[in-house]
Structure formats: structure tokens, C-alpha cells
Symmetry: C2
Subunit: 405 residues, 2 copies
């Protein structure tokens, strides 16, 4: 194991806070001295499906701990998911059914495996312990927290203030999460900044049970591709780890300049000095963004796919047709006796738009061209002779090749 100071330096990258930091230093030192790995917990509630880069921030930190020789313990909150985690949500979130939770858990873990080395991780399901609990056990747990404590939690406080309901079931969540730490004897727990309250509940429970309390390592919330709100699926400002290389790359290129430092710090392992150089004044941010995009795409699809995605992006930016143009079969009966068709009907047949009226508008705006010479189509009503293999472009992004069938 590397010396504690060196580990601390690496682990500090990109984090928001270590609470309490002095305890963490002591834990690292004892671990390095005795060669005993720290048990680093990260809990996942299988309530969603698509892991995006926002989720990867703590997962990458977990992987960093693994690479330093520590033990990653992933808690699948299959039981807690039945309650619904209200953290950082402004509304009550209903729990899921048992079947949904199981399916989500399998799917989630498959995605997590792209970041964490699951072969070296402990994966535990909190249903393993909570499913055996009686009412009395729950009562005993709920004796450890007061309404005052729960109401102090930032998101709950906001909801209480605006008179939105906070259900008692939601109050059980931090206690359950805390108990997970007791069960697995966690030394460190990772989470987003908004998780700090939950991560600290565990400390009291662990001490009650005679265990050394865990340290909370909180990570900043990744901003979405809009550069404004937190990354999230519902806001449409996310980059999913399962998205194809070109989509991922294109999305990275679309982010404003401002969040680039955060993205580099949290989503890549590039040395900070290198990052500083790329983001220095006078350097074209477009170049840095391309490095960022390729680095991120490489992590999920490999360096070749990343290069290809970058090349395709450049071609498109230069107004060139992409290297591969999808061929779309258009049945014979779509054409008239002379083998002709109006352009709006052809665009719909090629699935480049869903309505002929939309297509008509784009044509009138001069957004449709055909053939190698990019001949503009201007009359939406004129039937056009369509040779097999004709290329049709709609707007800047949409393109297809006619395959008469």
C-alpha cells in the first residue's frame, strides 16, 4: 500500500468534504501501517435505470479506493428502494414494487460494472437483513432519531416550510441507510453532498453498536450539459454511460465552457497540471472539449470508438456527410406510375420526420437537399424522380439513402 499521505492526496481530488477529516487521516494511516484495507461503502437505490455521468462521480471515487487497495462495498438498497429515497428531491417519491426493484438492481449493477471492478467488490443487498426485521426491531431503530433531527435535513426542511408532505416512511430512510453501515462495518461512505445528513446518521448508530464510526466523503453534484442544473434524466441534460459513442461525444461538445473544469476533475484521471494547461486563457476551449469528450467516451467504449466519434463530429461540423449513411427501404407503392413522389411524403417514408406538414415547412425554409451535389428542394408539391441510392438531407443532422424495394 502507498503511504497514507500519498493516498490522501489522490483521494482528495474533486471531493466536496471529508467529515470529519482528521478521523479519515487516522483511518488511512492505520490502514497503511497494518496493511488492512478500508471498507468503503457506496449505496445504490435501484429506483432508476440509466446510469449517467452524474452517478459516476462517487463510483469513480470508489474505483479509486479499489485501485489503492481498499475494499469497495456496494449496497444494493433493494429494501430501501421500497420506501423511496427523498434525498435532494422536492417531492415525495413513491416506493417501487419488489419486482421492479429486482429488475432495476440487476440492470443497475451491469452499468456500475463499467466503472467499479465488481470482481473485487463486495455486493450486499440490504433486504438480506431488513427482510428479517420485526416491528419491534423497527421501533428500536426509530427510537434513535427525533422529529427535530429529521426536520433539520435540508430537503425535508424545505418541504416542511412550503407545507409539502414529508411522510413518516421517508424518515425511516436515513435510519435504514445508517444501519447498512452497521451491518457492513463501513469505514468510509461515499455520497453526493446532499447525502451528508444520511451519512452522518450512521455514525451514531455505529457508536451505539460499539463500532468505530464511519467517515463521510461527499462529492459535488455534477452539473448537466446545460451547465446550469444538476445532471438528471428528467431534465434531459444528461450523458448516459450506455449511450453510443457519437451521442456521448456530441453531448460533451455541446456543454458550455464553464463546467469544463468540473468535468475534467471529476470525470477523468488527467493530471491537474495538464488540465490547467488546456484550460489556460488563450487556448481554444474547443480543443480541450475534444480531449474531454474522447477521454470520457474511451472509458465506456474504448479509444478507437472515441476517435471515430470525434472524427464523425468534425466531419459533421464541417458540413460533410457522415461516413456511413443509413439506407432506408421505401416500398414501390409509395411512388407514382412514373416512379416519382413528392418530397414531404418521401421524408416521412424515410422516417426523417413524422409528419408531411413539418417536412413541408423545412422544405420551404430551404433545409432539404438531395444528391451528391446537395441540390436544394424548394417546391414541396412537385413530384420528384427518385433514383435508387438517392441521398436526402433534412436540416443539419438528418440524412438517409433511399433503397427502393
Amino acid at each position: 500500500m502507498r503511504p497514507a499521505a500519498e493516498q490522501l492526496d489522490l483521494l482528495r481530488r474533486g471531493i466536496d468534504a471529508i467529515t470529519p477529516e482528521a478521523e479519515f487521516v487516522k483511518k488511512l494511516e492505520a490502514s497503511a501501517r497494518t496493511g488492512t484495507p478500508l471498507r468503503v461503502k457506496y449505496g445504490i437505490d435501484p429506483t432508476g435505470i440509466d446510469v449517467h455521468l452524474g452517478h459516476t462521480v462517487p463510483l469513480r471515487k470508489l474505483r479509486q479506493f479499489q485501485d489503492l487497495g481498499h475494499t469497495a462495498v456496494i449496497i444494493i438498497g433493494d429494501y430501501t428502494a421500497l420506501v423511496g429515497d427523498p434525498s435532494g428531491r422536492s417531492d415525495h417519491r413513491a416506493g417501487l414494487t419488489k419486482e421492479q426493484v429486482e429488475a432495476n438492481a440487476r440492470d443497475y449493477l451491469a452499468q456500475v460494472g463499467k466503472i467499479v471492478d465488481l470482481s473485487r467488490a463486495e455486493v450486499r443487498h440490504n433486504g438480506d437483513w431488513f427482510s428479517r426485521w420485526t416491528f419491534l426491531d423497527v421501533l428500536d431503530l426509530t427510537r434513535r432519531m427525533t422529529i427535530g433531527q429529521v426536520s433539520a435535513r435540508e430537503d425535508f426542511a424545505l418541504r416542511l416550510k412550503s407545507e409539502k408532505p414529508v411522510y413518516l416512511s421517508e424518515c425511516l430512510y436515513p435510519l435504514m441507510q445508517g444501519w447498512d453501515s452497521v451491518e457492513i462495518r463501513a469505514d468510509v461512505e461515499l455520497g453526493g453532498t446532499e447525502q451528508l445528513f444520511n451519512l452522518l446518521v450512521a455514525r451514531d448508530l455505529q457508536q451505539d453498536e460499539g463500532q468505530p464510526p464511519q467517515v463521510a466523503m461527499t462529492m459535488p453534484i455534477l452539473v448537466g450539459t446545460d451547465g446550469k442544473q444538476r445532471m438528471g434524466k428528467s431534465l434531459g441534460n444528461y450523458i448516459g454511460v450506455s449511450e453510443p459513442p457519437e451521442t456521448q461525444f456530441g453531448k460533451v461538445m455541446s456543454i458550455p465552457d464553464e463546467p469544463m473544469r468540473q468535468y475534467f476533475t471529476l470525470l477523468t484521471d488527467l493530471p491537474m497540471a495538464e488540465i490547467d494547461a488546456m484550460l489556460a486563457p488563450g487556448v481554444n476551449p474547443r480543443d480541450a472539449k475534444e480531449v474531454l469528450g474522447k477521454t470520457i467516451v474511451s472509458q465506456y467504449h474504448g479509444p478507437e470508438a472515441a476517435e471515430a466519434a470525434a472524427a464523425a463530429f468534425r466531419r459533421r461540423a464541417a458540413g460533410e456527410d457522415p461516413e456511413e449513411i443509413p439506407e432506408v427501404p421505401v416500398p414501390r407503392d409509395q411512388f407514382d406510375a412514373d416512379g416519382r413522389i413528392t418530397m414531404p411524403r418521401l421524408i416521412v417514408a424515410l422516417k426523417l420526420d413524422s409528419s408531411t406538414s413539418n417536412a413541408r415547412r423545412v422544405i420551404e425554409q430551404g433545409g432539404v437537399t438531395i444528391g451528391p451535389d446537395r441540390t436544394p428542394v424548394t417546391d414541396p408539391k412537385a413530384p420528384i424522380a427518385v433514383p435508387d441510392g438517392l441521398i436526402v438531407r433534412v436540416g443539419k443532422r438528418k440524412i438517409a439513402r433511399v433503397r427502393r424495394s
Copy 2:
């Protein structure tokens, strides 16, 4: 069954509120019309031991329902007792162990049997259902209530305002009590005024489960013998149903005049007209108090014991010694060679006081007399000749006869 209107008239005596009253009238009418008894619930938490007159207020109402042909359903909250009911308490009350709860329940029921006809009552233990619940069942229950709702409960609100802890476990209590009503399909639930919140929680749960909601019948809180605070063991202002006749009678005679109407209304079946006559201006309240005392003592010890207690009280009030004076053996070695002893030492030997210094003070204040002639003892230091059978009086109440052994 008597007509609903007549029953309503009887049942209204002494109550604080029926919520909602219109529903109760409909239930009574349907019951009288179809001859179907109402199911009247009263829950008891076996957390204490001595049933006092304050507890008998709802129990007597329950008995009245029985006498009108309805079904009394007594819930022994053996499971809820493990949480501790915070109703009307200003502090968190810790739960009991399972063993304590079982012993208390047996003892409690024996005392309740002095008021309710247990042979005609259903007695249910809520551990019968709650002990089978899983964590998920509890979560499902806690989804039915918000922090806002719980915080509105008067006693919780007070504690929250003064920053005293309200434990999450305590918030489960009203939900558990409410679920009891679902299990036994209660039509009416009885309780003290401070129970109104809890009694209404059941209505929501019952409706969620497709049952007609129960009606809450709340009773005023009986004031203690001090005429000021609610009757309670810890305040020392209570009259226990298991206390001896003379103690009960004496305590009734000690109450101020003000709460007499409440005592008559809630603790006796005397017609209201008769009570009005006794409490009319110009009538000596002492006489009314004696009727009250005898009526109450009769309920727990029979009319003869009540009369005897009243007679003994009159004698003592007139300054006479009681009919039976306890004999206390005093060993020979307590006396000097001449068969004498100082009065403070004799008082302690007779167990009339626990310390000689206390006894000395009472002597100096002129509070000690001996013999049939009530000769005052004035010198605490003078040894006194003590014949066998000597009567010693300390203050107004304490008396013993020396039995030299």
C-alpha cells in the same frame, strides 16, 4: 335495546365531545333498529400498575355501553407499550420490556374488571397482529402519515416548540393505535380529550381499508385531589381503585369543593337532579362530599365498607382515636433498667417516624400525646415509664399501642 335517542341521552353524560356527532347518532339508530350491538373500543397500555379514578372515567363509559347492550372491546396494547405512549406527557417515555408488559397487563386487567364486566367483553392483545408484521408492513403503515400531521398533535407541538425530543418511534404510536381499530372493526373509540388526535387517525386507516370509520368519544381529564392538576400517580393527587376504603374515603373528603361536580358526574351514577340539589348554594358541601365518598368507596369495596370508612373518618375528625389501634411490639432491650425510654426513641421503635430528630421536633411543637387522657409529652430528653398497652399519638393521624415483648 332502548331507543337511540334515550341511549344518546345517557351516553352523553360527562363526555367532552363526540367526533363527528352526527355519525354517532346514525350508528346508534342503525344499531337500535337492527339490534346489532356497536363495537366500542377502549385501549389500555399496560405501562403502569395502579388504576386510579382518572382511568375509570372512560372505563365507566365503556361499562355504560355494555349495560346498554353494546360490545366492549378492550385492546391490551402489549405491543404499543413497548414503544411508550407519549399522549399528554411532556417528556419522552421509554418503552418497557416484554416481561414487564405481560405482568402489567395481567395486573391491569384484574383492576379493570372492577369497572367493566370482563365476562361480556372482548379482550384483544395488539401483539397478536403486530408481532407478525415485517419491516415492509411498517413502511406501508408509515406511508399513511406525514411529519406535518404528527407535528400538529398538541403535545408533540409543545415539545417541538420547546425543542424537546419527539422520537420517531413515538410517531408510530398513533398509527398503531389506529390500526387496532381496523383489526377489530371499531364503531366507537373512547379516550381522554388528549387522545382525540389518535382516535381520528383510525378513521383514515379504516376508510383506506374499506371500513366505515369509527366515532371518537372523548372524556374530560379528571382533576386530582388537589383540585388543580390532572389526577396522576406521580403527582400524588390520585385515588387508586385498589386502595383501602378508609384511604379512598379520606382522600375524597380532602378534595376542594370546586371539582365536586366533575367527580359526581364522572364517577357516580347519581341522577343529575340529585347532584344539583346537593351542590345547591346553602347546602353544606361537607355533606355532599360524604355522599360522594360513600358512593365511590361502595363501587370498589361495597356499601358496608363505605359506611365504616365514613364512620371512622367522622371519629377522627372529632378528635377521637380510631376504633382499631395498631399494636406494635417493642423489644425489651429498648428500655433502660427502670423500664423507661425517651420519647423520640419510642416513636422510632413504634415506626411512627423514621428519625429521632424528626420526632424531637414534633414533640417540641406539642404534637405528641400519650395515654387515654392525651397527656402531652414536652421534653424530648426525659425518659418515660412505659406501661404495656400505652397509646402514643404523633400528629393528627399517626397512632400506635405499645406491646412490650
